[in-house]
């Protein structure tokens, strides 16, 4: 696997949320608007890159039997850093993401990459992998939040499209930005991807 593939695999082929079904809690909880989704994606990416780098650097010195607690401490450190940074510089985002910033610690993606990739591969590869996965995570979040924001409020990234187009009277479905909407969007996106896969398999298979 070359470096480019390593970088891009997380975008779609092995997208952590949409394909591997990891890190679901933040993908559903904070994706009520693109702004939140993007913020969450970037924050997670930062933590992922930081922890992967550090884990990869320290991999020779971490004793195997207690590696998991050590990874968690490393991740938690970066999460705290990000948390404090957001509080200081983007308080509004910090406010709307709330509880889910500290919960990045228990995002399966980050621990999973640390264990499965960073603790085995070189530092450079780990960074590339982490950035790729982070971008994949962000893509998924933005996709989900775009659907929810548009269906829920008729707006995209805060721009009320319908009103701009001059269509009045039509309102978005508030349900979509409530919890059921999160599950629903996720289910429909996964369903669409599965449908696509089945269709492709049928086209290439058969005759």
């Amino acid at each position: 696997m070359n470096k480019l593939q390593n970088f891009t695999k997380g975008f779609f082929k092995e997208n952590p949320v949409l394909v591997l079904a990891l890190g679901l809690c933040p993908s559903l909880a904070v994706t009520t608007s693109i702004e939140n989704g993007l913020g969450m994606g970037m924050a997670s990416t930062a933590v992922l890159v930081g922890s992967s780098t550090l884990v990869s650097m320290l991999k020779k010195y971490i004793p195997g039997s207690i590696r998991i607690p050590i990874f968690i401490v490393i991740i938690a450190t970066f999460v705290t850093l990000i948390d404090l940074t957001l509080q200081a510089f983007i308080p509004s985002l910090s406010e709307s993401l709330g509880l889910f910033i500290p919960l990045i610690v228990v995002n399966c993606i980050i621990l999973g990459r640390a264990e499965a990739f960073a603790s085995k591969k070189s530092v450079l590869d780990s960074i590339i992998d982490a950035i790729g996965m982070g971008i994949g995570f962000t893509i998924a979040l933005v996709l989900i939040s775009a659907v929810r924001e548009f269906a829920g409020t008729g707006a995209l990234y805060g721009y009320p499209l319908f009103q701009l187009m001059g269509i009045e009277g039509f309102k978005g479905s508030i349900l979509m930005i409530l919890p059921p909407g999160g599950f629903l969007t996720m289910g429909l996106i996964l369903g669409f991807m599965q449908w696509n896969k089945v269709r492709k398999a049928k086209n290439t298979g058969g005759k």
Binding site: I174, L175, L184
Partner: protein, 343 residues
Amino acid sequence: MDKMLIVSANPHIRSKASVTKIMHMVNLSLLPALFMSYYYFGFRAIFLTLVSVVSAVVTEAAIQKFRKVPVTVSDGSAILTGILLAFNVPAYIPWWIVMLGSFFAIAIAKQAFGGLGFNIFNPALIGRAFMLASWPVEMTSNKFWANPVASFGAKTGQTMDAISSATPLNLVKTALKADPTQITCDILSKANDAGYAGATYWDLFVGNVSGCIGETSFLALLIGVIFLMILGLVNWRVPFFYIGGVFVFTWLLGYDPVFHILAGGLALGAFYMATDMVTSPISNKGNIIFAIGLAFFTVAIRIWGGYPEGVSYSILLMNCAVPLINKFTVPKKFGCVKPVKAN
């Protein structure tokens, strides 16, 4: 023999009952309620019902076409969903909301699960929950609630503002919030003062009150469900224990039980939604547990909840639990007694 015979497994004769017949009978039994809604809310009620039915049927047919499975709209189940959904909306709600609600009900709650028979939740109620959560203002604000027109002559030329009103339960809720010590009977009279003129038990019984278009007339729904019971298409246990449960719970909590039975969507829910075969338990014991759960949640939401009406949510909540109820109420098999010792 030149003609080839048919071979299939036994039994070789089958009863005349069919799903299609059942569904059409249920649709038929809803006609009195539809007529009452027309009588009280005017042509708008028929219009919304039509929008809802057409949307449901078209959605079902389109999805089945897309899935490349046989199109089964003629079995009447989509029509039923459409009618029940329309019965659950206020008369002056924008029609496109009903259309979307109907679409959602069929597409998500029914076809995504594989169509009739596999849905976990009552599609019409999912449609209603969807509309209520999505457009709460349209679904609950006074602006869209209509007082019954109450005469055929007046059905044209009504404007929205002139006839808007709150439902009895809504009024009770508002009043309760202001003064939680009141019990319902008093509030009912208060509600009357607040422009909800002359609502008596009789009005509630025949449906001469404001509310969703199909839910107000207890009488019409009762006629329908008795028709179904005579045909053996409805298990009497669910409505009986549901309504009985509501009576007991409200009475225990010190509210007016008769009011709580006649008001709101309880009749529609107990007679038509909770008895939906697909989404209710199979065994009799399961049905009784189901109905008591319904009564509990209905009363809880009505009295403590944020919504004035708890019927639809309580049915959805108990729908979630149906697989579990079924699992734990498997009837005892014949012959599962202690083996009789031969002497």
